[in-house]
């Protein structure tokens, strides 16, 4: 079933055409990847899906609804969560609070409940705390609950960002280079974790990644971008054998020979 659909979406910055008429379809319960050389516009596509940038042309549909004009927080409320390529955690909050903060949309108490700290606030905060701990445990982060993220190793910060993205129970998860800066054993663990999450949480996941082992092993389909244009789409095997993809990555082989 179709979850997300991009219809010839374009975005340019000044004279640079970062994304040019890219269309893609993401189904429920599948893991796909967007790959491409540096500067191909992969992260821009993520920023367009999550609403951080507004596209110049084209439309974006999520669960059959046109979300092209929605602000980022509205898209998150509909079920799109993401992580960032350069980790963006809240360094003045503990690990536990970093996770809790992303649940704001699901809390039903209002400002006056907060001021008078009514039973509703206490109850929801207690439930939230349990939930947050559940997710911290799921990602083996519970031992760090009261530390500040700035003091933690890189790999753990990455997992914390993932936990924060998962807490609001998204339907679609966008992972922007989740393996960047991780060592090989951590990458293997990450792969297991992504597959596991996809399975248990019934998530649909799009990954932007340079690490080919990860992409080839866990993704069912791959979209390849080059200079903002989509040049190929298919299963990992099809993509590897695609001539255009080889050209984009290795240059024109004719010239070299």
């Amino acid at each position: 079933m179709e979850l997300l659909k991009l219809e010839s979406v374009s975005k340019s910055f000044g004279g640079v055409q970062a994304v040019h008429e890219v269309s893609l379809i993401q189904n429920k319960d599948e893991i796909t990847a967007i790959i491409g050389p540096n500067g191909a516009g992969k992260t821009t596509v993520f920023n367009l899906i999550s609403g951080i940038y507004q596209q110049d042309a084209g439309k974006i549909f999520f669960r059959g609804m046109d979300i092209s004009e929605l602000a980022p927080h509205r898209r998150c409320a509909l079920g799109i969560s993401r992580t960032f390529q350069n980790i963006r955690l809240f360094n003045n909050m503990t690990v536990l609070e970093n996770v809790k903060v992303s649940y704001a949309n699901h809390l039903t108490y209002n400002f006056f409940d907060e001021v008078f700290r009514t039973g509703k606030v206490k109850k929801e905060e207690r439930e939230l705390e349990e939930r947050a701990f559940e997710y911290l445990k799921l990602l083996y982060l519970d031992v760090y609950a009261s530390s500040y993220p700035g003091n933690l190793p890189y790999g753990i910060q990455r997992r914390l960002e993932l936990a924060r993205a998962l807490l609001p129970e998204p339907n679609l998860l966008l992972l922007d280079e989740p393996a960047a800066g991780l060592n090989p054993s951590e990458i293997r663990e990450l792969m297991e974790m992504i597959l596991n999450l996809q399975h248990t949480k019934k998530l649909s996941i799009i990954i932007v990644e340079h690490h080919m082992e990860l992409v080839m092993n866990i993704c069912s389909r791959i979209h390849v971008l080059d200079f903002g244009k989509k040049i190929a789409e298919g299963t990992p095997k099809e993509v590897i054998e695609n001539e255009k993809v080889l050209q984009a990555y290795l240059g024109d082989l004719g010239e070299v020979c």
Partner: protein, 282 residues
């Protein structure tokens, strides 16, 4: 008598500091217009009582309402802007309010100010107000409100991406801040019995922010303690005149160098000692 006066002044100024805390301390928005909201509250209360013969309680409520309206007028168009522009615009707003107070002389008494305001806010009212406001802010400091504020201060983009309406939350914070400032201003008018436009200039607003920084941005108790210490010290050592500000200046520099998290800041540097189970498997 002198000490009870010192306590009254200290607590009123602590209310001002508390009003700025959610805005500058938690959300990291610096408003140089807070003095203007204080002035709006004080003048509304004074004019309401003297010219329209309203009872002080009604005047105080009116002051809060006008403060909220002022907060909406200033906040809605400016809070989408970058923080530095927000600071400049609130500075402009502060100067504008001061100019208006000077100019509308038949209503506000111009540079002469308003004298003869009835004494309606004694120590009990002020003390109860300060404590109640402290607990209200302590309450919102235990729930989503605080988390959203700090998230906005740390990273607005990530805050949007996790589903928080940054603009709306900033408006909420700003209006909360403006209303408490206006309330404090009204108490000030009913306590001092005299107000004039120059009492609440942008320097006063800047001082409130400095106290929050020195006290520790993340710690409500730290900020409250710092404001009590600063204003008590300020009143008791009034004879030291210029030296007071000099000592404050030195203190600010020393604190920012040696304790950047603030005197009573809560940021701890805890390094976890427990190994990560995930890596141990290998």
């Amino acid at each position: 008598m002198f000490y009870s006066k010192v306590l009254e002044t200290t607590l009123i100024f602590s209310i001002f500091v508390l009003s700025v805390y959610p805005l500058s301390g938690l959300t990291g928005l610096f408003s140089l217009g807070q003095g203007a909201f204080i002035a709006i509250g004080a003048y509304t209360a004074a004019i309401g009582t003297l010219q329209y013969k309203l009872p002080p309680a009604i005047s105080i409520m009116l002051a809060i309402c006008i403060g909220i309206i002022g907060g909406v007028i200033v906040g809605v168009p400016t809070l989408k802007l970058r923080r530095d522009y927000f600071l400049l615009i609130t500075f402009g707003f502060s100067e504008m309010v001061r100019a208006l107070l000077l100019w509308m002389a038949q209503l506000t008494g111009g540079a002469m100010g308003i004298a003869g305001i009835p004494y309606a806010a004694g120590l009990p009212l002020i003390a109860i107000s300060a404590i109640v406001i402290f607990f209200f802010i302590a309450n919102i400091n235990k729930s989503a409100f605080r988390r959203n504020c700090i998230a906005i201060r740390d990273d607005e983009l990530a805050t949007q991406a996790i589903g928080i309406n940054v603009y709306w939350h900033k408006i909420k914070v700003f209006i909360l801040s403006a209303s408490i400032s206006a309330y404090g201003g009204a108490l000030y008018a009913f306590n001092m019995m005299f107000i004039e436009p120059n009492l609440f200039d942008w320097l006063e607003s800047a001082k409130l922010i400095i106290i929050i920084f020195v006290g520790g941005m993340n710690s409500l108790l730290g900020v409250f303690l710092m404001s009590v210490i600063y204003y008590t010290f300020g009143e008791v050592f009034r004879f030291a005149s210029v030296w007071r500000d000099l000592i404050l200046g030195v203190l600010v520099i020393v604190v920012l160098i040696f304790r950047p998290q603030g005197l009573f800041g809560t940021i701890k540097t805890v390094f976890p000692t427990i190994r990560f189970p995930f890596l141990q498997k290998n």
